[in-house]
């Protein structure tokens, strides 16, 4: 088990009700997709945020990653909706 900082942005942040948290990721949670499935099981607010995981983007240590990216070694994982800057 390892401690990871999770960060949430935009409506992912609003649905979960917090901007970040430190979390122990259980053994067996290997990929970004696994993290989303596991988070969704942690309560109503998480289930709501990750109700459609296909639309959620993720970054490990501030670099964009795909859902199949392996989280081993990550210090920070961020989840957010598709970006709308520019």
């Amino acid at each position: 088990m390892s401690k990871i900082t999770l960060r949430y942005f935009a409506w992912v942040r609003e649905r979960i009700g917090k901007a970040d948290e430190e979390i122990e990721v259980p053994a067996g949670i290997a990929t970004i997709g696994d993290v989303m499935t596991w988070l969704a099981s942690r309560g109503e607010e998480y289930a709501y945020a990750f109700e459609n995981p296909k639309v959620i983007r993720a970054a490990i240590d501030r670099a964009h990653v795909k859902p199949q990216a392996v989280i081993a070694g990550a210090r920070e994982i961020a989840f957010f909706p598709p970006m709308t800057g520019g």
Binding site: A10, W11, R62, K66, M83, G86
Partner: protein, 163 residues
């Protein structure tokens, strides 16, 4: 070619002409300057808006934009590039962000500015929330923006990269 590159994420307004002038000053090889300025419109889908609020991921926003600026400098012979993106509450008529590219020739200046805008739209971690009379809502990403960004990618432009 050494490219002068500046990326700033700030709450404050900016002066695009002053930023362009900084890049051309004392450079006798600058032949073409392209600027892009994104402005907050007064309506969205026909409904008036009171303001946009831009949220961003500090640290990652700078890093992502810097990475794309470096990629632009690799693809085109650029003398200078400056990208400034604001965050916070922005009212209609105010500037949201700007790109300036300077090159000896116009194709490089045009293409690199267009490239940077497409990547900023789809890859820079910024999110727009819109205030209307009926409340606030998050702006949805546009499929056309992904399609525009895909023009530049040899792999068809998947927005994520596997780690």
């Amino acid at each position: 070619m050494t490219t002068t590159a500046t990326v700033r994420i700030q709450r404050e307004a900016f002066d695009v002409a002053a930023e362009a002038a900084k890049l051309t000053r004392d450079r006798t090889d600058a032949g073409a300057v392209v600027t892009f300025t994104g402005i907050c419109r007064g309506a969205e889908n026909g409904e008036p808006i009171a303001a946009l609020t831009l949220e961003h991921f500090p640290g990652m926003a700078e890093a992502e934009i810097e990475r794309h600026v470096a990629e632009a400098a690799r693809r085109w012979p650029l003398i200078g590039v400056t990208v400034i993106h604001r965050y916070g509450r922005i009212e209609p008529g105010e500037d949201i962000m700007m790109v300036v590219t300077v090159s000896s020739h116009r194709a490089a200046a045009f293409e690199s500015a267009d490239f940077l805008m497409d990547y900023l739209k789809t890859r820079a971690p910024f999110w727009k929330q819109v205030e209307k009379a009926g409340g606030t809502s998050w702006v949805a990403a546009k499929a056309e923006d992904d399609a525009a960004a895909a023009r530049w990618a040899p792999d068809g432009g998947r927005p994520e990269t596997a780690k």
